[in-house]
Amino acid sequence: MSLRDPGRAGQTFQVDDAVRRALAAWGKERDSEIGRLNLARAAQKLTADQRIQLHQRLAEISLGLLFVLQEKSRRSG
């Protein structure tokens, strides 16, 4: 995939404010149990559509983190 991929520009990217807040709070304490508990509480307060968005963004972030982990290890040899 490239930044110049013509299909990429045609997609919309929306993040609801409540979802954005939940993601921001989780991002600060991503590796801790408290962070996960706060995420669970925040998810319970979201509507069904917002929860779908939250899952989608979290899945994308997770894959992004995995990709960067692999890239860093590839560079370090």
């Binding site: 669970a40 894959l63 983190l65």
Partner: protein, 140 residues
């Protein structure tokens, strides 16, 4: 070794994340598969993570979403359960998370434990009549 530890930590985080979101690991891995083909969201996530780790935008040229999702699935669920029931599959995947008891061993064994058959002389009552079998006591 350090790489393996980082990947194992990532996989562990995914399992914890699925639990926090109150979804099964199967559902969460489906979410990862779906995220792999949403190029805009995935590109944004990769860029954000790359910038935070001091990598440049050139990493995007090596991004292959479906391949990444397949690797993610292998990390999160290295030994997929061979059962049809989603409830039992989730139980097997989560069995190692409870340290106490022998649940994981029992769920993951390939064959059930059966008592050994003991070959011995028949007991004195072996030929006695019962409501289900006439027995041999009265036979000439």
């Amino acid at each position: 070794m350090e790489r393996d530890e980082a990947l194992a930590a990532w996989a562990q985080q995914q399992r914890a994340l699925a639990r926090s979101l109150n979804v099964s690991l199967e559902v969460w891995m489906d979410e990862l598969d779906a995220a792999a083909v949403r190029t805009t969201g995935l590109t944004g996530a990769v860029l954000g993570a790359a910038m935070a780790n001091g990598l440049g935008m050139a990493v995007l040229d090596r991004l292959d979403g479906p391949k990444l999702a397949a690797e993610a699935r292998t990390l999160v669920d290295p030994n997929p359960p061979r059962v049809a029931s989603p409830v039992l599959a989730e139980a097997i995947r989560r069995a190692d998370e409870i340290p106490a008891g022998a649940g994981a061993r029992r769920l993951k064994r390939s064959a059930p434990d059966r008592p050994d058959r003991v070959e011995a002389e028949p007991l004195p009552s072996a030929n006695a009549a019962t409501p289900d079998a006439p027995g041999e006591e009265g036979d000439p």
